[in-house]
């Protein structure tokens, strides 16, 4: 069997192949004539089988062989692309995923699953024997060879290893089992070219190392002389296979355009560790800055400024590393909607927007399940069955829109459907029955809709297997609030429901404006600040409780934070107003004085301060004091409530 390092690498590579298989299958279902996708699917299963064989995971190798055979029939045009075929392929993908988990020692595999799948696959293969081809093959069948390449560098190479790998990628599909950071490279290349072409790629390093190219595959044995598993979790990998060098006419333009950018896979733990270090760096830089300010020195001033700038750049870069486009999770939801359509006998199209919108990886991970639940709710309770829809004058096929976009310092994710909307009367009845509200209690439409977010709520007449007891929506809300976000629902009877999640862009480090109120320090998120003004005593008094100030010709409301914080009135003649933009509106915040800019790590407030919505966290200042970070939407809400109460 294989050394542990190889196995993990194989599993990581395999999981990515599976993701591509799922995306490809769904794409093929939408466009059954797309031959290029058929070829991609075949290649993916072929590579999966090959690398499983090399890694010694016989169970996966033998199972994927069946799928590869079936896909071979499809690409030869002997079998048509049908929904039944897609379902089998997707189920096969699920089965391989389970086998991968089992290979790593986690999770059991249903022993009846495989024979059933093999049976279905055999059924498809049997169709191939039925005479005339279902679809004329677009191009002549391509001969594919797998090469196992072993390369041991002896001297420093004249070319960059990454370039060499890119060169190999132009020949076909490359899987890196052990990359250039290991003492011996082990590569798996699936290509239509011959051995000569493979060796030619290594021409420039001829003499700098020992090269072995074997056609066909064999199992990699762990105790080979000199072989070592790749160090740690870092390995080079391809993002997408490049198109074959011998380009056969494809039925559709290369949608999977060759992106041969070299990437490095880094474990999340390493990234988190890095962010933590950056945080400490930022704190200490802030202390240095403060100390330098206290002891002005011409020699210190330059380097201290340079440090601040450099650390800011490093910080931005590191935080950027954690940003992942949300589109990576959208495929999962396509699959979910497809499966639910089958289960619920409904027809729904999931339209996604803003796939490129980037979010902190931690946020995406935590949101994943929450979004699944919102979608399930939408499918189960929102979108009607086709006959109901047609009767209501709607198209039989429902639409769910999943959109992500940046809005200032936040990301807004919207999930909207064109279903039946929330029946507020039923919601009220249910809430009354559950004791969540008093009988006859007066609620606005919006408040009634918000009842759905209360813990323990459910309007499902029968608890369906799909979305359960409605424990989801309040859990979703908690997840969102745990990420310092907000959630809102809008709904119109007969037209649909829209759920809006607003989340901060980054959880880790903040650029803030440090202010002082009653000798305590507070941080205002810099990204939202538009300007600073002065508020004199006479003007304050003159305002006569109306708390409005003219800013460049416009009247802007302001919040007296001392009042909201229950602090005594100020004795100073002058205060400052920091004007911020919150959800598109400008609001002024009255503080004693503005100290300056400050960047540092956000520490979450924790469960004890869950009900406090004015603050999103705390930060440690250069002098060791703790400063509260204002949550602007929460501050505005609290300020408004305070105003109403007085």
């Amino acid at each position: 069997m294989l050394a542990a390092g190889y196995l993990q690498t194989f599993v990581d590579e395999a999981r990515e192949l599976l993701e591509r298989i799922e995306a490809g299958s769904l794409a093929l279902e939408a466009r059954p004539d797309d031959r290029e996708v058929v070829h991609q699917l075949f290649r993916a299963f072929h590579t999966l089988k090959g690398s499983a064989g090399v890694a010694g995971v016989a169970a996966i190798a033998s199972f994927t062989h069946h799928v590869e055979t079936a896909m071979d029939h499809v690409r030869e045009g002997r079998v048509a692309v049908t929904p039944a075929l897609i379902s089998v392929v997707l189920s096969a993908k699920d089965h391989v995923a389970a086998l991968l988990d089992a290979a790593l020692g986690g999770g059991a595999v249903d022993p009846t699953a495989e024979p059933a799948l093999i049976g279905r696959l055999a059924g498809i293969a049997a169709l191939a024997g039925t005479g005339a081809p279902a679809v004329a093959p677009v191009a002549a069948p391509r001969e594919i060879t797998d090469f196992l390449i072993t390369f041991r560098p002896i001297r420093t190479l004249e070319v960059e290893p990454a370039d060499l790998l890119d060169e190999l990628r132009t020949l076909g599909q490359l899987v890196v089992l052990a990359g250039p950071e290991a003492p011996i490279w082990q590569l798996l290349l699936t290509t239509e070219r011959d051995e000569r072409a493979v060796r030619d790629a290594f021409l420039f390093v001829d003499g700098s190392g020992e090269l072995e190219v074997e056609a066909g595959l064999r199992e990699l044995i762990a105790d080979e002389p000199g072989s070592q598993p790749p160090p740690g979790p870092v390995a080079a990998r391809t993002i997408d296979p490049s198109p074959e060098a011998t380009a056969a006419p494809a039925a559709s333009p290369a949608r999977a355009a060759a992106r041969t950018d070299a990437t490095v896979r880094v474990s999340s733990e390493r990234l988190d560790q890095l962010v933590k270090l950056i945080g400490e760096l930022v704190i200490n830089q802030s202390r240095l800055h403060q100390a330098a300010g206290a002891h002005p020195s011409a020699e210190l001033a330059g380097p201290v400024e340079a440090m601040a700038r450099l650390i800011g750049d490093v910080r931005d870069n590191v935080l950027g590393l954690r940003m992942v486009p949300i589109g990576t999770t959208f495929t999962r939801y396509q699959r979910l909607v497809r499966d639910l359509c089958g289960e619920l006998d409904k027809s729904v199209e999931l339209v996604t927007e803003g796939d490129d919108t980037e979010l902190d990886k931690t946020v995406i991970d935590q949101l994943g399940d929450a979004l699944v639940h919102v979608l399930r709710n939408s499918m189960d309770h929102g979108v009607e069955r086709p006959d109901e829809r047609v009767a209501a004058g709607k198209p039989a096929r429902g639409t769910i829109r999943l959109a992500a976009a940046h809005e200032g310092t936040h990301v807004v994710i919207t999930i909207s459907d064109d279903g039946r909307g929330i029946d507020t009367a039923a919601v009220r009845r249910k809430a009354e029955a559950q004791g969540l509200i008093q009988p006859g209690e007066l609620l606005s439409e919006q408040e009634a809709i918000a009842l759905v977010l209360r813990p323990g709520f459910s309007t499902a007449a029968a608890v369906t297997q799909v979305s359960g007891r409605g424990v989801g929506m309040d859990a979703v809300k908690r997840t969102v609030e745990g990420l310092r976000g907000t959630m809102s629902i809008a709904s119109e009877r007969g037209a649909g429901t829209r759920i809006r999640l607003t989340l901060p862009l980054t959880l880790a480090i903040i650029d803030g404006l440090l202010v002082e109120i009653d000798r305590d320090r507070f941080v205002v998120p810099m990204a939202a600040v538009t300007e600073n003004l002065e508020l004199g005593r006479t003007e304050r008094a003159a305002n006569n409780r109306r708390n409005l100030i003219a800013v460049r010709g416009e009247l802007v409301p302001y919040i007296r934070l001392r009042e909201v914080f229950a602090m005594p009135e100020t004795t100073d003649d002058y205060e400052k107003i920091v004007v911020v933009s919150v959800e598109g509106e400008r609001v002024g915040l009255v503080v004693d004085r503005v100290i300056g800019s400050h960047q540092t790590v956000i520490q979450p407030l924790g469960r004890f301060y869950r009900g406090v919505d004015m603050f999103s966290g705390t930060t440690i200042l250069g002098d060791g004091r703790v400063a509260m970070i204002l949550d602007l939407p929460g501050t505005v809400r609290t300020g408004a409530r305070h105003q109403e109460a007085s």
């Binding site: 704190i283 305590d520 914080f565 520490q603 301060y609 004015m614 930060t619 703790v626 509260m628």
Partner: protein, 157 residues
């Protein structure tokens, strides 16, 4: 250190009452340093304090236990605790009027708390101990912090 029959506890006072917490839960005991207040927080939250670069929330245990408010003194301490709350490990501070020694109590020195006639809700109290003349109230400290509500027995009825 725990043997089969006895446990170590840190004892502290709130008003006249002597309480005890399993030593394993207590990370450290700090002098009263600058606690940053958190405006609009519930009154039993005193604020947050910087413990070696981490902001730790501080609960005013006197208020939580419904005792009349009193000024901080030179004896006031912050007990920094490590508790499991909602399945997660949380670090939280509690204000004590004074902190006393670590004692060992054997299980045969412990008694069930009486159902009635206790000032505080029964589920917060693991047991009653006695050292010499003094009664010691052994707290289920995770429950104390987990509860947002009034800890007084009367409030529970």
């Amino acid at each position: 250190m725990t043997t089969a029959s006895s446990c170590s506890y840190i004892t502290f006072k709130l008003g006249d009452e002597l309480f005890a917490i399993d030593v394993v839960r207590v990370r450290e005991v700090l002098d009263l340093s600058e606690i940053t207040r958190v405006p609009t927080a519930p009154p039993y939250m005193r604020g947050v304090v910087n413990v070696r670069g981490s902001a730790v929330p501080v609960v005013d245990l006197r208020r939580k236990f419904g005792l009349p408010p009193a000024d901080d003194t030179v004896h006031t301490r912050i007990l920094v605790l490590e508790l499991e709350l909602d399945g997660e490990l949380a670090v939280v501070g509690g204000l004590a009027d004074s902190v006393h020694e670590v004692i060992e109590l054997a299980t045969d020195q412990l008694a069930e708390p009486p159902r009635i006639a206790m000032r505080w809700r029964a589920e917060l109290i693991q047991a009653l101990g006695k050292k010499g003349d003094q009664f010691i109230i052994l707290l289920d400290i995770a429950r104390v912090f987990a509860s947002d509500a009034d800890l007084l027995a009367s409030a529970a009825s």
